[in-house]
Amino acid sequence: MTEILAALLLVLGGAISLIAAIGVARLPDAFLRMHAATKAGVVGAGLMLVGAGFAFGGGDAWLRVGLIVLFLLVTVPISSHALGRAAYIGGAPLWPGSKDALAGVLPRQSIDEDDGLPVPAKQAAAIPAPTIGAMPGAPGRPAQPAGPGEAHGAAP
């Protein structure tokens, strides 16, 4: 009986992990992808862990399984919240069908649609002309330190 339950939970955990990965691959923007990755990911890993608890069956195993599941339930919401907040501040584009409920609440960097590089809007308004150290080949954009540009350096 426990063997059937363990097998069922292991397969179910794998299937839900695959659903999470399909969500991450297919959903349209970073926030929706995070929604799929965190919730379905935790359920997938947690079901596999409970299945492992039934497969091992001892008090030792259940102690570890309980600790890991508790740990995941505590930490994954924290990390996903931090990532979502950082994505919003960093200017990750929103899916057109979603509503920007955080407009005016959090500062948000805008992203240049042409080349995917960030354009700090407030900085451009405060400093009218490009400063002396402006890079050649980037007309119309004020000189930036390496920080914001690096964040998108690997974009194709």
């Binding site: 063997e3 363990a6 097998a7 069922l8 292991l10 397969v11 955990g13 794998g14 992990s17 695959l18 999470a20 990965a21 991450v24 691959a25 970073a30 992808r33 995070m34 990755a37 990911g41 997938g44 890993a45 862990l49 299945g51 492992a52 497969a55 001892g58 195993a61 570890r64 399984v65 890991i68 740990f71 995941l72 930490t75 994954v76 924290i78 990390s79 996903s80 931090a82 990532l83 907040r85 950082a86 994505a87 501040i89 960093g90 200017g91 990750a92 584009p93 960097q109 992203i111 995917g116 700090p120 407030k122 900085q123 930036q144 920080g147 964040a151 998108h152 690997a154 974009a155 194709p156």
Partner: protein
């Protein structure tokens, strides 16, 4: 093949497909946030894969490694989030 062995094989196949899709998203981007989300999910998938390995080999100690992987994934995600937040601030507002 026992019932649990068959379940392990099926689950490992599903997990491999999940890792392939998540890795594709991690390579594809398009932004750093998408890659960070994919990395977060890869950490959770690694916890699941380690759990499957523990059941397959009968090594209870591998569950401790799953706990360690979860911890590393958490710290990594929070670190990347802090990096994105800091790099997005305008230079005059930085305190570092």
């Amino acid at each position: 093949m026992t019932l649990i062995g068959a379940a392990l094989a099926v689950s490992a196949l599903l997990l491999a497909a999940a890792v392939a899709l998540t890795g594709w998203r991690m390579l594809r981007g398009p932004g750093i946030a998408d890659r960070a989300v994919a990395m977060d999910l890869l950490g959770l998938l690694a916890v699941g894969a380690t759990t499957l390995t523990a059941v397959a080999g009968g090594h209870l100690a591998l569950l401790d490694i799953a706990l360690g992987l979860g911890l590393v994934g958490f710290v990594g995600a929070v670190g990347v989030a802090a990096f994105i937040t800091r790099a997005s601030r305008p230079p005059e507002a930085r305190d570092d």
